[in-house]
């Protein structure tokens, strides 16, 4: 896992930066019977992003992209909260919301794999219309719910740990199992790496693609539940706004190529954590809102440059001679 080294270092560097600015940044206490501290916050607030990014990884690995996750996040939260506010049980509400998300994901997959529309446009349709759908569900208002059971999903604790983190861990484990223990990963990577060849090798690329989009929407749906549960309300207008960009960024920082093929779930989780840590860093070291974006640009660029073998070769070894290996690797990458 050499290629995860640089994202890890970047994460560590960001955490160190925080430690320098905030006393007790790394300290974790037990408060009211649950863990409390900045690190826990990062995990807790990062949980939805990690989820969405995990789903996005699968889609990107098939050579696609899903812009609609933000809208799906909003729809899922909105539907669940609407149901709960109309006295449905939390279970029904969650089941309905996730069921709808599955359908939306399958719809995306159908447009991409069945009709053959370019993924970015196919999912743009749901990105635009889905936001409207979420607003339609909430009637443009914020639906506030008061259900302790629902609150658990994104804001509660279980065995002193934030419940959201446990959900993410479970889904990560399931995804890792399906892709790496079973052969789903190989199949997805083949479809993303060379769709024509995979078809000729007997892979049902269509079904795999639909599955990836469905899984992605499901992840986004769960993330939507978390986000709305965390604040006990559904905001059809703003929930998940621009989360697709963060998710794609997380995937790419994690080392998965946007052209499809090889993917790394662990890398994606690291990428999402980097982004969330960056956000937290901005809040806690007091970067003024006007310069937030400059700071983000700086960090993102630095992380990517460090990850680029070409950059490291050019900067760290003035002559590539002492490390012909690195240089060779880089050359191949660039030309291929």
């Amino acid at each position: 896992m050499r290629r995860l080294l640089w994202p890890l270092l970047a994460l560590a560097a960001l955490l160190l930066l925080n430690v320098a600015f905030t006393d007790g940044f790394l300290s974790i206490q037990i408060k009211d019977g649950h863990l409390y501290g900045s690190l826990i916050d990062i995990l807790r607030f990062g949980a939805p992003l990690i989820l969405v990014s995990l789903g996005m990884t699968l889609v990107i690995a098939t050579g696609g992209i899903d812009l609609s996750v933000g809208s799906v996040v909003a729809i899922s939260g909105a539907l669940a909260c609407l149901q709960i506010s109309e006295d449905a049980s939390v279970f029904t509400a969650v089941a309905l919301a996730l069921g709808l998300c599955l359908a939306l994901g399958a719809w995306n997959g159908f447009l991409v794999a069945g009709i053959g529309i370019q993924p970015i446009i196919a999912t743009l349709i749901l990105m635009v219309a889905g936001r409207g759908l979420a607003q339609l569900i909430t009637d443009g208002q914020i639906i506030t719910v008061n259900s302790p059971a629902y609150k658990l999903i994104g804001g509660g604790y279980w065995l002193t740990l934030p419940f959201g983190i446990l959900v993410v861990a479970a889904i990560w484990a399931v995804t890792a199992f399906l892709t790496r223990r079973l052969a789903l990963g190989l199949v997805i990577e083949a479809v993303g790496g060379n769709p024509v060849a995979s078809r000729l090798a007997g892979i049902d690329a269509r079904r795999v693609t639909v599955m990836a989009y469905t899984a992605c929407a499901l992840c986004a749906g769960i993330a939507g539940l978390m986000i709305s549960s965390n604040v006990s309300s559904a905001d059809g207008n703003n929930a998940g706004l621009w989360i697709e960009l963060d998710a794609i960024l997380a995937v790419v920082i994690g080392g998965t190529s946007l052209t499809g093929g090889r993917f790394s779930l662990t890398g994606t989780v690291l990428g999402a954590l980097i982004i969330q840590t960056l956000t937290t860093t901005i809040y806690s070291i007091g970067v003024p809102p006007e310069t937030t974006l400059l700071f983000k640009a700086l960090v993102v660029t630095t992380v990517c440059l460090l990850q680029s073998p070409a950059f490291r070769a050019k900067v760290f070894h003035r002559r590539p001679r002492p490390a012909p290996k690195a240089a060779a690797e880089e050359k191949v990458k660039v030309t291929a």
Binding site: A183, L186, N194, A197, L200, I203, D204, G261, A328, K331
Partner: protein, 504 residues
């Protein structure tokens, strides 16, 4: 000729890839007005030598001199500008552009204002292709043409450049005899103009026909430089693979009777691609397909595999008609197809050798039933050894393998499926003599065990050596089916293909 000074010399060239020393102190020189063959097994380092010469890869050690001056090209563009024109091993063209453009891109004729003169581009492109005896629509997109045509276009592009040095890395791997002759005519003319030509091929006949001198590599090391006429073929092979190669003969046994039809194509056809044909393949039978470039051999293969939709007719398997609408459906009937176009239809470049090798088997099982690791290891090590795949590291990315070794992996992908019908479209493209014999032996062995094989190759000797029966195609029409008995020779087959002779 020996007296003239080399136009190109490479001395002490070394190139290390992660885990592989591809070149180790290789010397090479190229004289003006000669055709110089670069010989070696798959993975010997031929393509790498060409790539370091033209600046695709940096060299670790050594020096390159062109016309006596030291050079280090930054890339193919620089090499081209210095007068080295290259056709790399895989067809490296842009299939999204037109044929004419592929020939001229980067050096299109322009008018005074820098505007490309399209008419001129088209006219001249057609002219150059005519020199190779190819008459196609130059305004059509290159993707509309078969790999062989693409290979010719790549050659056309290279020979049109005013160059001192012309490098051809396996240009003939998809061409049939006619095109090869045409290419050789052009090469001879260029040679007479004093151009130095570096030529790579695994067809020994071609080497002996065209080359004046050869340099042999083995495992990235230089074996030696020889005059072609002074080195007998057996010795050449021995030097290449480090051992003697047994004599090749017809592999199939004496005329057997096949009476258990496996796959029957009944009036199967696809509008615009292949006229309706009827063909029966029996269990244990090897059927060869022979025909000229574009005659429709690949089309037949694709139809039988469900890769394309038939517009007429039906396919019966074991007597019952089956709609083969997808490759998956064909695979469920245990039909396998190894495509001729390994780069776009075979390889998954970012996956490892192991993953590429087990892909089809895994797809057939479905992703919920992963192939156990131990079984994978067993299959991989068996075929790596059987086909001599090098480097023998199953976790190497397949894109890092030499062309021939990639081809072997793809073949293995289909062999491990143990299909009932194996369709092989140019399976030995770019494979060296040693491995080729091994593959042919393997195919014969499998068919002996009851597997049916549909064998397509531009090399008629190979078709004859393996097949029990040869179907001949002309102008996308199945014109004859010949039993492969002693009376069938390459000459008579050639005649049938050309439309002159009649089946004996």
């Amino acid at each position: 000729m020996t007296a003239s000074t080399p136009v190109l010399t490479m001395t002490g060239i070394s190139k290390q890839f992660p885990g592989v020393k591809a070149l180790d102190g290789v010397d090479f020189r190229l004289l003006p007005g000669e055709v110089h063959a670069l010989m070696g097994e798959n993975g010997a380092g031929k393509s790498t030598l060409i790539k370091v010469l033209t600046g695709v890869h940096d060299i670790d050690e050594g020096r390159i001199e062109l016309d006596g001056a030291r050079v280090a090209f930054t890339g193919p563009l620089a090499a081209q500008q210095a007068g080295i024109s290259t056709v790399y091993q895989e067809v490296n063209l842009c299939t999204n552009l037109s044929v004419a453009e592929n020939i001229f891109i980067g050096r299109e004729p322009r008018d005074r204002w820098g505007r490309i003169r399209w008419k001129e581009v088209r006219r001249r492109a057609a002219g150059i292709l005519a020199r190779l005896d190819l008459d196609i629509d130059v305004t059509a997109s290159l993707s509309a043409y078969s790999l062989a045509v693409q290979q010719l276009v790549a050659i056309a592009r290279a020979i049109d450049v005013q160059a001192k040095v012309l490098i051809l890395d396996e240009p003939t791997s998809s061409l049939d005899a006619g095109e090869v002759q045409q290419l050789f005519r052009v090469m001879r003319r260029l040679k007479d103009d004093g151009i130095a030509i570096l030529f790579v091929s695994h067809f020994l006949d071609q080497i002996y026909e065209i080359s004046d001198r050869m340099t042999i590599l083995r495992n990235g090391r230089l074996v030696g430089e020889y005059l072609t006429k002074e080195l007998p073929q057996v010795e050449l092979v021995a030097k290449m693979i480090g051992q003697e190669l047994a004599e090749l003969e017809r592999l199939h046994g004496t005329a057997k009777v096949f009476d258990r039809p496996l796959v029957e194509a009944r009036e199967l056809g696809r509008a615009g691609a292949i006229e309706p044909f009827t063909l029966t393949i029996h269990e244990g039978e090897v059927v060869g397909l022979a025909g000229l470039l574009g005659s429709g051999r690949t089309e037949i293969a694709r139809l039988l595999f469900g890769a394309d939709h038939a517009s007429t007719g039906e396919i019966a398997i074991g007597g019952t008609p089956q709609p083969l609408r997808t490759p998956r459906a064909a695979m469920s009937h245990k039909i396998a197809f190894c495509s001729e176009n390994r780069r776009s239809e075979g390889l998954i470049p970012d996956l490892t050798v192991r993953e590429n090798l087990v892909l089809a088997l895994q797809a057939a099982r479905g992703w919920t039933r992963p192939l156990p690791r131990s079984r994978q290891d067993e299959l991989v090590s068996r075929y790596v050894a059987a086909l001599n795949i090098r480097p023998a590291d199953p976790d190497q990315l397949i894109r890092n393998l030499s062309g021939g070794n990639q081809q072997k992996v793809l073949l293995a992908r289909w062999l491990i499926l143990e299909p009932r019908l194996l369709i092989l479209d140019e399976p030995t493209r770019g494979i060296d003599v040693g491995a080729k014999a091994e593959i042919q032996r393997l195919v014969a062995e499998l068919s002996g065990g009851g597997m049916a094989v549909l064998f397509i190759s531009a090399e008629l000797e190979e078709v004859l050596r393996l097949s029990h029966r040869v179907a001949v195609l002309r102008d996308r029409r199945l014109v004859a089916e010949l039993d492969n008995d002693d009376r069938l020779t390459t000459e008579s087959l050639m005649e049938t293909i050309a439309g002159g002779g009649h089946p004996a």
